[in-house]
Amino acid sequence: MNEILDKIKQKYNAEDVTVQRERLAFVTVAKDLAIDAVTWLRDYEGFSHFVMMSCVDWMEEGKFQLLYLLHNPDTKIDIGVKTYIDRENPVMESAHHLWKQIWTYQRELHEAFGIDFPGSPRVDENFVLEGWDDIPHMRREFNTKEYSEKTYFPRPGRKTYDPATYMQEKLYPNQPVTAKRKDNDK
């Protein structure tokens, strides 16, 4: 485990190496080197099983974090190669030539976050939505509750309580309400 992490650090200037579990580690690699790192891990280090590709929206920092999670079937090690891309102009090099299923992930991320993968097959086609004309639905600033209330005729009479305050009011009605929660509905 440490051996391979050292190699990545040395070769790709990997930062922010976190060993989450005994056999799971996440490393951060610069955007230009990410696909190379993934290719190198696949071809030379035996990480032949592509587990998943994911994206996290760090809206506050103005970045998207892409994750390529690889698994080595021989040593049973998982390494997540992370890279950060700009949120304003989200473009990432396509990796569809490495594994057959990656174009599906890229198509999904294109739809969900608006990340472009030039050259990836069928990346512009709809994946799960049809006739979507709002901002990409998995971005943090997209408020799904508001959208739903605006669009789908909510049935009147439905109430949503904050569980903490509601329980306190129900169970301890005499005490002053302390469990106020900052409403950060998103």
């Binding site: 799960v128 939505l129 049809e130 006739g131 979507w132 004309d133 709002d134 639905h137 997209f142 799904t144 509750k145 959208y147 739903s148 209330e149 669009t151 789908y152 005729f153 909510p154 049935r155 439905r158 949503t160």
Partner: protein, 240 residues
């Protein structure tokens, strides 16, 4: 007409249709579904509007019940022979296999599955409906012959259930198609489904399950609601 003329005509028309596509505000119409002109083999020019041609132009009409005892007898037959369309629209469809197998055997109540909408008269909306499915559900519902009945499963069809805040699933099914029987639960047990069929039978026998006519009567309202959320209205290649 010479071949050269034809070619110039075709290229002219192509240019025109491209310009139309740019100018028209229709976002989700794919180029092959646009209104355009085509040259017939004999040289004449025909206007085609694929979306209009694919869909039935006729509005559904109210179909009056027959008189007295005949309708009563037919209602009895309809109640005792409910043919359910085999279209699992949501997660509630996992409770359909238990219904057709030894434990809960719904065949003994005259309820059977049918693979095509033309031959079924009951539609189980099994749980949440995403907008993408709703479009197919509406089309399927309109294809079913009247009288037709809708059973809506789960809390998702009543008020959105636990997906009340989802951007993808609808909240109230009865705004888009008329519902005869709601079966509550997440998800309803097979026993509840059998009870729902029992309730539907009572309604049919009493002559109260005339929701297909209601749909025809309030067609404009239903269509307005449907069009509000289904923005991409052209069906991909359902051209039969």
């Amino acid at each position: 007409m010479s071949e050269k003329d034809m070619n110039s005509k075709v290229s002219e028309m192509l240019a025109r249709s491209e310009a139309n596509a740019k100018n028209s505000g229709k976002k989700f119409v794919r180029p092959e579904d646009e209104e355009r002109e085509v040259v017939a083999p004999d040289g004449s020019i025909i206007k085609v509007n694929p979306i209009y041609d694919y869909f039935s132009g006729a509005r559904p009409e109210e179909e009056k019940p027959r008189n007295g005892i005949v309708e009563k007898f037919l209602n009895w037959a309809r109640a005792e022979s409910i043919w359910v369309l085999g279209f699992g629209t949501g997660c509630g469809s996992i409770e359909i296999p238990p219904l057709v197998t030894p434990r809960f055997d719904m065949f003994r109540f005259g309820v059977q599955m049918r693979p095509t909408p033309r031959q079924s008269n009951a539609f189980i909306i099994s749980g949440y409906l995403s907008v993408k499915t709703l479009k197919r559900v509406i089309r399927t519902y309109e294809q079913m012959p009247s009288p037709k009945y809708v059973l809506a499963l789960g809390s998702c069809t009543i008020n959105g259930g636990m997906y009340y805040d989802s951007y993808s699933t609808i909240n109230r099914l009865d705004h888009y198609i008329p519902v005869d029987v709601y079966i509550a639960g997440c998800m309803p047990r097979p026993e509840a489904l059998l009870a729902g069929f029992g309730k539907l039978k009572e309604l049919i026998k009493a002559g109260k399950a005339e929701k297909a006519n209601e749909y025809a009567r309030n067609f404009d309202w239903y269509k307005a609601n449907q069009k509000k959320i289904v923005k991409d209205w052209n069906m991909p290649d359902y051209n039969w």
